[in-house]
């Protein structure tokens, strides 16, 4: 694929970061999360505020360079890419809908410079059974959130009943911590909130339009780019391994089933990549389609990579099994697949499709 100049530039810097800074920390990330030092470097490079405007300390990346950044980082460390996607698409983006609000702008600045990360309380949208969420009760913000990613964030974003945004800076306590299938660099647990008025702010409101669901939907292309990176990371390792590893006297790549599977997976990924980068930033249908195609492709590519690696790939030190875990984790944390399929069916076949 031919990329424009800005994207190429971002790509080159991102590759350097991935190789020099992310790759050496890979084992550490899997064990104990993304190191603060790495996040500081990411902030320096403008990645934490990638989509924020420059006057708020951001890098003001356009859609394609931003996707290229996520793709590149995901192919080294899906956790790091997911974290940056979270800060940008799910935290900064909704906050930018409330420009002019001092609190919102301060929050964006803190994310961009790495002094204060945020998270969006979108977890209820990931479930087939809706429940939970925060409600106002006697001035306090009260409720439980079943799935919270990155619970150590400095602030939490939620939806107020009048269409505004709630910025929550305290009163949350962690409950169940979940087995971490993947994205181990980012925490995942359930939380309960009982936040007094001093620790939350209501921003905007009565505007309509903004919602957690719409924020998650408009992150489709960022999630798709992350999935693409995972798939490419898994596949490129398999391609390399197939060129080196011999069995029964020949390199793996010489065996038709291995070669055909790797080549066709490569073709599929190239095809989906063309679609993703060619899609219009505002087209919900294409973004959703790309996300559904690519999260599935990531699961299949990582499985193929595991199989090509045989027993070796089964152990974490080969750096392959993490793609297998992270691909599925991304699919689970990137949106409820049933809901997404219904949404896509509605866009493609008309309202009310896929309802039975």
């Amino acid at each position: 694929m031919r990329m424009d100049e800005e994207t190429e530039l971002v790509l080159n810097f991102a590759r350097e970061f991935a190789e020099k800074d992310v790759a050496p920390a890979a084992a550490l990330i899997e064990e104990s999360g993304i190191p603060g030092e790495l996040l500081a470097k990411a902030a320096e490079r403008g990645y934490l505020g990638a989509v924020a405007p420059e006057d708020l300390g951001g890098a003001s990346l356009g859609p394609a360079p931003y996707m290229a950044l996520l793709e590149t980082l995901a192919s080294s460390s899906p956790s790091v890419a997911f974290y940056i996607m979270l800060q940008n698409s799910l935290v900064i983006s909704p906050l930018l809908g409330f420009r002019g609000s001092e609190e919102a702008e301060a929050a964006v600045r803190s994310v961009a410079d790495g002094t204060g990360s945020g998270t969006l309380l979108f977890g209820e949208l990931l479930s087939n059974a809706r429940a939970g969420g925060l409600k106002l009760a006697g001035g306090h913000l009260v409720g439980s959130c079943r799935y919270v990613v990155h619970p150590s964030a400095a602030f939490f974003i939620s939806e107020s009943q009048d269409g505004g945004l709630l910025l929550v800076r305290g009163g949350g306590s962690r409950k169940d911590s979940y087995p971490r299938l993947g994205m181990r660099g980012v925490g995942f647990c359930s939380m309960e909130f009982e936040t007094p008025p001093a620790h939350y702010t209501r921003i905007g409101g009565r505007k309509g339009g903004w919602s957690i669901a719409s924020t998650l939907n408009s992150a489709s292309r960022a999630i798709a780019a992350t999935a693409l990176g995972i798939a490419e990371g898994a596949l490129s390792r398999a391609v390399r391994y197939a060129a080196e590893r011999k069995t029964f006297g020949s390199e793996l790549r010489k065996y038709q089933p291995v070669a055909h599977a790797l080549s066709m997976m490569q073709a599929e990924l190239e095809s989906m990549k063309a679609y993703l980068y060619g899609s219009a930033a505002g087209d919900a249908r294409e973004g959703l389609a790309a996300k559904l195609l690519l999260t599935d492709a990531a699961v299949r590519a990582s499985r193929l990579s595991m199989q090509v690696h045989g027993g070796n790939g089964y152990f974490s030190d080969y750096g392959v099994e993490k793609y297998y875990r992270d691909a599925m984790a991304l699919e689970a944390l990137g949106g409820n697949r049933n809901d997404d399929l219904k949404l896509l069916s509605g866009l493609m076949l008309g309202e009310g499709s896929a309802s039975i």
């Binding site: 087939n128 599935d296 595991m306 199989q307 875990r325 697949r337 039975i356």
Partner: protein
């Protein structure tokens, strides 16, 4: 034709299911997975309740299935202590049976099967561990083995090594199997950590530095061991198929419980056709895999093993396990990765790799069908 298990096997299956439900608690499963710790206590209990009984292979098979259905890591661990010992039953000398097989059968010792080395993988004949003969008739063993189940906990291993260079184009000759004790001088085991799944089982790399193997520890005939290994795979692959079946069925159990809970909560997703198709497609594949597995087992246990039936069962059941966990976890999404379904997802993948990758199984099926005149 009769497609149902006989009553005594059904009873054993029920007993195994009850044992697993009782012993493989959520806490135990999580703990051994997280810590990569072999559950020795569970092994002992399973032995006491008679699940490790090579005289009752059907019983072992259905216990394997039911155990893995509740938890694959603990389930396999409970039945694996005698791993490889069929080799001695079939090819061992009286001396070897008395010294090595009996204590295993009495639950006093554990065995392991050591074939794979790091350069060879599926290519059994490509191994490099070597036996050289001493003047007194004993051997010196040098080399290494990798991915050895029970590697860090077994008392002895049935080990394959090259004892003479192969004739050209006959790479399968010159391989010999011996019993190696972990207590022997020059033997070293290093547990391999960081497995994707099946983390309650113990996996190690073994290295051998001038380990002296007495002549009486040679199993069967020197140079003929490739055949013994293939014979063993015809047994072990059926047990892997049963593990895979258990994993797939366990995943389906979890899906149906999940759907019931969704239904109770009033969620429309519970009875959408997507959910119904998922149940039907997974259940059909599981039934197909189970029939293939039981067919292969019934041939083997009547002493008429059919390698085509065996490899079909192993390959198809393994694929079914991965298929089931993947599709079910995709459907459950966040509701799945926050439960033990995530462990099933991790545990399933190895089914397509160990005891013969799916690729190797397919080649066996194709080659043997060709030899049989395409099965006509």
């Amino acid at each position: 034709m009769d497609f149902d298990l006989p009553e005594d096997v059904v009873a054993m299956k029920k007993k195994a299911a009850e044992f697993a439900a009782r012993e493989f608690t959520a806490a135990a499963a999580a703990e051994h997975d997280e810590g990569e710790k072999y559950p020795d206590e569970i092994r002992r209990k399973a032995f006491r309740e008679g699940f490790l009984d090579m005289g009752n292979p059907w019983g072992m098979l259905v216990a394997m299935e039911e155990f893995c259905r509740v938890d694959p890591g603990l389930g396999l661990s409970a039945i694996v202590p005698a791993f490889g010992s069929e080799i001695l039953m079939l090819f061992g000398s009286d001396f070897q049976k008395k010294k090595y097989l009996e204590p295993v059968m009495h639950g006093e010792k554990m065995s392991g099967f050591a074939v794979t080395d790091s350069g060879a993988g599926s290519d059994v004949a490509g191994i490099s561990a070597a036996l050289t003969r001493n003047e007194d008739g004993s051997y010196l063993l040098n080399g290494q083995k990798i991915f050895i189940t029970n590697g860090g906990i077994a008392d002895h291993f049935y080990l394959l090594a090259r004892s003479s260079p192969p004739p050209p184009e006959k790479r399968h000759r010159g391989l010999t199997m011996v019993v190696v004790e972990s207590a022997m001088e020059g033997f070293r085991a290093t547990q391999l950590k960081g497995k994707l799944g099946m983390r309650a089982t113990n996996t190690a790399e073994l290295t051998f530095s001038n380990v002296r193997i007495p002549a009486e520890n040679v199993i069967g005939e020197e140079g003929k061991a490739f055949y013994y290994v293939m014979t063993f795979f015809n047994i072990s692959r059926i047990y892997v198929a049963a593990q895979a079946l258990g994993i797939a069925q366990g995943a389906l159990d979890r899906l149906t419980s999940y759907l019931a809970a969704l239904r109770a909560s009033g969620s429309a997703a519970a009875d959408g056709e997507a959910a119904q198709f998922l149940v039907a497609e997974v259940a059909s594949r599981i039934d197909a895999a189970r029939l293939l597995t039981y067919r292969a087992a019934s041939y083997l246990f009547k002493f008429t093993p059919d390698p085509v039936a065996t490899s079909m069962a192993k390959y198809y059941a393994a694929e079914t396990a991965t298929y089931a966990v993947t599709r079910i976890l995709e459907f459950m999404g966040a509701d799945g990765v926050t439960t033990d379904m995530e462990r099933f997802y991790r545990d399933a993948k190895i089914m397509e790799i160990w005891e013969g990758t799916s690729e190797v199984e397919k080649l066996i099926v194709a080659r043997m069908l060709k030899e049989k005149g395409e099965g006509k």
